[in-house]
């Protein structure tokens, strides 16, 4: 039996972790099951991803597909065709734009990601507080997260001073945050829609010596960030989960199903984002994870 796994290339920390978990799982399962084969591809854009899927079908005769679509819309058609041809399809994280194509859906929840962070802001900050937002690469995921965050803040009296794209990159976030700090004499909190960007933002805040004025909430559960939460770092009071290990879950579920009785478990597995606080941080800290 062959399982195809197609995920985005490691262009930022979270995607890197995704790659790491995928490779680990594939290696482990290949050892575990003799007659199980995997085809793992990583892609830099939706077009390439479609090509990869075509190759898997045309030349590797896959029996099941685990795919994290680069973008929902463009991948819907191709994945639908694969599903229609009788191949088992597990979609991870990014839902397709048509319902009921995939057999199994394992996902994080971008909306909950933004809302969880937003709720924490509303809870913690006073009315009239000022926050700035570092957004990711312009994509639908980023839009969902930011919209949910804004919705959570609605009516709370917390003012969003500005939003700029930090492109899920430490360097870009560092630069944008530096400029936010020059621009606004008063900032009470920063929401970075990803832990990589949070690292950059913290770098800029420390440089400006304004650690005492504001804190930063990132997201996705990067090891170092969870550690800081655990240590009670006042700069990083909490974090929001969006576990890259969901790919491992998806691959495992697919493989186990395929190997045991030929029919994997189907349905939806939505992994909602959770707030990591000092109290529960130890549950979210994984020593060996690269992320």
């Amino acid at each position: 039996e062959t399982i195809g796994v197609s995920i985005p290339a490691a262009t930022h920390g979270w995607a890197g972790a995704l790659n790491f978990h995928a490779e680990q799982t594939v290696e482990r399962l290949e050892e575990q099951y003799e007659d199980l084969d995997f085809v793992l591809t990583t892609t830099p854009d939706p077009g390439t991803q479609i090509s990869d899927l075509e190759d898997m079908v045309a030349t590797r005769n896959i029996d099941a597909l685990v795919v994290l679509p680069f973008e929902s819309e463009p991948l819907t058609g191709p994945i639908q065709r694969i599903a229609e041809s009788g191949t088992w399809v597990t979609v991870v994280d990014r839902g397709l734009s048509q319902e009921n194509i995939e057999d199994l859906y394992v996902a994080g929840d971008n909306e909950s990601f933004g809302r969880t962070a937003g709720d924490y802001f509303v809870e913690t900050l006073d009315e009239g507080s000022k926050v700035v937002v570092l957004r990711g690469i312009p994509t639908s995921i980023d839009n969902e997260r930011v919209e949910a965050f804004q919705a959570a803040l609605d009516g709370s009296g917390i003012e969003i001073l500005a939003m700029e794209h930090g492109n899920w990159s430490r360097d870009d976030a560092f630069t944008v945050m530096q400029d936010f700090l020059s621009r606004y004499p008063e900032i009470d909190a920063v929401w970075a829609a990803d832990d990589d960007m949070a690292v950059g933002a913290i770098g800029a805040i420390e440089q400006a010596g304004r650690q005492d004025e504001m804190w930063v909430v990132g997201g996705a559960g990067m090891k170092e960030m969870v550690q800081r939460v655990q240590d009670g770092d006042s700069m990083v009071p909490v974090d929001v989960t969006y576990p890259p290990a969901m790919i491992a879950t998806a691959i495992e579920l697919t493989a186990m199903g395929l190997m045991s009785d030929g029919v994997p478990m189907s349905g939806d597995f939505i992994i909602a984002s959770e707030l990591i606080t000092q109290d529960n941080a130890d549950q979210y800290y994984f020593e060996d994870s690269p992320y």
Partner: protein, 320 residues
């Protein structure tokens, strides 16, 4: 007869890759795989044919990838706007196609005129427009993805997936563009003037070649071909976003040069470009066909093969 590696080089590289492909996977030569590889080469291929003219005439265009994304976005937007009034009809598709071609023409003309009239290096002009188009498509899509109306997509789909006699449309269009390109390059005054301008612009001007017009036309031609590529691309994905067409420019330029066209201009060959495009597609295809290397290293393998393909060629041309 002397063996001219300058001519044979790219072909040998292609044959070698095909050999490797066959050795690694028995499905490599299957109808499905060949169709896939050829069809997906079509976008870059169509663009690279246009790029061959621009480079032969001593120019360069870094904006084609972003331009493709922008035109795709514009086309989808227009079609979606028309659906309410015109319904999901062929008319909408035709208007969409017209929009794509016209947008390509205009975008190409802008690049061309900035290069020829304002006298700015092509590298800088198109680096600028590259940023501009990329931004515009992000803005059009509001940071997300522009998707074609679902019904329209079903109607338009066959343009990518169907074909005649088992040959899919993108392959047919690519073949036509390549053949026409080869003819224009070798058998018309335009092609010859491109080479003359790339070789020595002053000489071309002194020989009463309409330098400005020909140079501008190469960019317009390229723009139109980007439009054609988009017309084939949109039915494949039915969407456009900020990541559409990323790095296509580098891939197209690499294909042109692997094919034997001289980067500084003066000599170009369209068939070489086609071979170059196929080489680049095959590398990706073959890497997908095996698990030999860590997917992280795909980029490294591609880099090595690009350099090797050109070394082979250059060594040949200096030896003979």
């Amino acid at each position: 007869m002397k063996i001219d590696l300058h001519v044979l080089g790219p072909i040998l590289a292609l044959v070698a890759l095909i050999g490797i492909g066959i050795a690694l996977n028995s499905n490599f030569l299957s109808y499905g795989n060949i169709t896939n590889v050829l069809a997906r080469s079509a976008f870059i291929g169509i663009i690279a044919v246009g790029m061959t003219f621009v480079i032969t005439a001593g120019g360069l265009d870094l904006s084609v990838g972003s331009m493709a994304a922008f035109i795709a976005g514009l086309m989808i937007l227009c079609m979606n706007l028309l659906v309410p009034s015109m319904g999901q009809s062929l008319g909408v598709i035709l208007i969409g196609i017209a929009v794509a071609l016209a947008a390509g023409l205009v975008a190409g003309a802008i690049n061309g005129l900035l290069v020829t009239r304002a006298g700015i290096e092509a590298f800088i002009v198109t680096l600028g427009t590259m940023g501009i188009y990329r931004s515009l498509v992000t803005w059009l899509a509001d940071g997300g993805t522009l998707s074609l109306d679902y019904g329209m997509r079903e109607l338009y789909r066959p343009v990518y997936y169907d074909g005649i006699l088992g040959v899919s449309w993108p392959i047919i269009v690519f073949a036509i563009v390549a053949i026409l390109g080869e003819i224009v390059m070798r058998h018309t005054a335009f092609g010859r003037h491109c080479a003359a301008i790339g070789s020595n612009e002053t000489v071309a001007r002194y020989s009463t070649v309409a330098v400005t017009r020909v140079k501008t036309l190469t960019y317009i031609l390229l723009g139109c071909l980007v439009g054609v590529a988009v017309v084939m691309y949109v039915p494949r994905l039915g969407s456009a976003s900020a990541s559409t067409g990323l790095l296509w420019e580098l891939e197209a330029i690499a294909a042109v040069i692997i094919g034997g066209t001289v980067l500084k201009g003066g000599f170009g060959r369209v068939w070489g470009t086609v071979v170059g495009v196929l080489i680049l597609s095959l590398i990706g295809n073959i890497l997908n066909l095996t698990d030999m290397v860590s997917p992280y290293l795909n980029g490294a393998i591609q880099g090595v093969i690009i350099i090797l393909a050109v070394v082979l060629q250059r060594k040949g041309s200096t030896a003979t």
